[in-house]
């Protein structure tokens, strides 16, 4: 798609997301690309990485080709280190045990806030989305990596509704609201990788994915982009990364 080798946007997202993780981290992962990315990192570079599921699982190990359909069913517990209550696993976030939360979102804005609740009037919304789930808790209490497809209608200046807080309205507004830890750390898309600038806490392009220009990125984004002073180019997926993603998800359940 972007390179001569064929890979899907979802495969790219998975691989770029996996690269954001470090060995020894404890990662709260949702089903789909987050789970796949965490497993990829675990197998490739981070044998001491621990994956948590919202349903109540610590130290999940995914078998290639047996990806679970949600984080709440029994498949997620197979050969895990610990199964516990779902309030208990969420409280690990609050206690500070979790380094990184890994999420997708319907809408993201310049301060890394996510909307997965609704668009329109809360009592009679135009579009009612599923809701926060653990998203608000993860985003409030851990460093968050957001992985999502890059579309203009999804990259907006301000989300219609802050379901999962990034830096709220920038600067110290997150901290002032009582959220003392965490914050959106990275946004990974099929077009670029973003970080957040230290002072204003506004989204900033760190690196452009292979073949993507500044102009194309801006055209697909609903707010004016900042670019990091030392803007990089994302390393394309390696053969090893692509092979492993395909081994883990041979049926393209998550990576179609």
């Amino acid at each position: 798609m972007l390179e001569k080798r064929n890979y899907t946007a979802a495969e790219l997202l998975t691989i770029l997301s996996a690269r954001q993780l470090s060995d020894g981290q404890v990662v709260f992962a949702g089903v789909g690309i987050p789970l796949l990315a965490a497993t990829l990192a675990q197998r490739l570079r981070c044998p001491g990485l621990t994956i948590l599921f919202e349903g109540g699982v610590i130290g999940a190990f995914i078998e290639p080709g047996k990806l679970p359909p949600s984080t709440n069913d029994q498949r997620c517990t197979k050969r895990a280190n610990m199964v516990l209550g779902s309030a208990e696993v969420l409280l690990l976030l609050q206690r500070g045990y979790v380094d990184v939360g890994f999420m997708s979102g319907a809408q993201v804005d310049q301060y890394g806030n996510l909307n997965s609740s609704f668009i329109g009037d809360p009592l009679r919304p135009k579009t009612r989305l599923p809701g926060t789930g653990g998203g608000n808790d993860i985003a409030s209490l851990a460093q968050m990596i957001v992985a999502m497809k890059h579309e203009k209608r999804r990259f907006v200046e301000q989300v219609d509704f802050i379901t999962s807080p990034g830096y709220l309205h920038g600067r110290d507004t997150r901290r002032k609201s009582g959220l003392l830890a965490g914050g959106t750390f990275r946004v990974v898309t099929d077009l670029a990788v973003f970080g957040f600038e230290d002072e204003k806490r506004r989204m900033q392009v760190i690196s452009l994915n292979p073949g993507v220009t500044r102009e194309r990125l801006q055209d697909n984004t609903g707010f004016a982009l900042d670019f990091a002073p030392h803007l990089g180019v994302t390393e394309p997926p390696t053969d090893q990364e692509l092979e492993l993603v395909r081994e883990l998800d041979p049926d393209r359940l998550y990576t179609a």
Binding site: P69, N72, Q74, V83, Q94, P125, P130, N136
Partner: protein, 326 residues
């Protein structure tokens, strides 16, 4: 009840809460009833807490029976709602959901049935974070009016929930959110096994069911199997819900179908796919068709299971038991 504009916020004063408990017969006694009899423990307008999560250990049989019994105006709370929620709304028995997430399962995306009822203003969706739901049940279970949490702060989820109160911590000066206790009038919980008194053992994922059971003012258990009290007492540290918190026990094999029951059966995905295609195609007519055939059609839960098909049941059971393959 403490009232906010028009609608209760479900927080009880302590004496009222204890009064409810005093009225319950907490003696060691047989509580086995039929599925139909169990529906009489739920009254119109009740705040109902639903156990399990997403497609797991959902008390589907009990929900099915409540729809057939024609309950009205239930407020249903569950940490994560799935097609159980579709049935509650389309079954016409529920006008408010209290949850953190409502979809048909991650495989199929947002529920068009839920969207239909919420977007037309017929059903109110009170959104809390997943942890907040857990802490509301926990406060209820502990007999205190609130739990302090550090999430929801600053977000629009908080702004939508004036029932939660922000404070400056008297110990640290930090901002905290106090989420109010949730003590459902009745909880519906499905377990792998319990005795006739209601001592219940849950295998695998527990979700928030223990707090939910202790928070509720009444508990209806459905169970894959009723076992002897002797069996329970041989492994008392596996008992997760004590009998005196339970008011009715219904033996209901495959009581979560077409959802899963840990270690007993996985979800019946063929049926779920048929269901999703039907109801998301037309959330009103599709759902009516489904209800006619699968909820109002069968004479009994066994007849419903027969409609799912023995092959799908066996396949789900084979997959369910495989969790114990080493």
């Amino acid at each position: 009840m403490v009232e906010t504009e028009g609608k209760s916020i479900d927080t009880h004063g302590y004496l009222e809460l204890r009064q409810e408990l005093l009225r319950r017969d907490r003696s060691l006694r047989d509580k086995v009833v039929s599925l139909e009899e169990a529906t009489s423990f739920v009254r119109d307008g009740d705040l109902v807490g639903i156990g399990g999560s997403t497609m797991s250990r959902t008390p589907m049989g009990m929900i099915w029976a409540l729809i057939r019994a024609g309950r009205k105006r239930l407020s249903c709370s569950r940490s994560i709602m799935s097609s159980d929620g579709d049935l509650l709304l389309a079954g016409g028995i529920c006008d408010r959901v209290v949850t953190s997430w409502f979809s048909q399962g991650i495989l199929w995306g947002v529920s068009k049935v839920m969207r239909h009822y919420v977007e037309t203003g017929n059903v109110r969706y009170d959104e809390w974070s997943h942890m907040a739901m857990g802490m509301r049940f926990r406060a209820g279970a502990m007999g205190v009016p609130f739990m302090p949490i550090r999430s929801m702060l600053g977000s629009d989820v908080q702004k939508q929930r004036p029932e939660a109160i922000e404070i400056d911590c008297p110990f640290t000066g930090e901002k905290l959110l106090l989420v109010p206790a949730l003590n459902p009038d009745v909880a519906l919980i499905h377990v792998q096994r319990c005795d006739a008194y209601g001592n219940a053992q849950i295998d695998g994922l527990q979700f928030m069911d223990i707090d939910l059971a202790m928070a509720a003012n009444k508990v209806i258990l459905t169970t894959e199997r009723i076992v002897s009290n002797d069996q329970i007492r041989r492994a008392p540290d596996q008992t997760k819900i004590p009998f005196f918190a339970v008011d009715a026990v219904v033996e209901l094999p495959f009581g979560c179908a077409p959802h899963e029951c840990y270690g007993v059966y996985e979800p019946m995905l063929r049926h779920m796919e048929y269901y999703v295609a039907l109801v998301n195609g037309d959330p009103v007519k599709g759902m009516q068709q489904y209800m006619d055939r699968f909820v109002h059609g069968p004479k009994s839960w066994s007849e419903f299971l027969a409609l799912l098909g023995i092959e799908e049941l066996l396949e789900a059971a084979r997959a369910g038991e495989s969790i114990y393959d080493a």
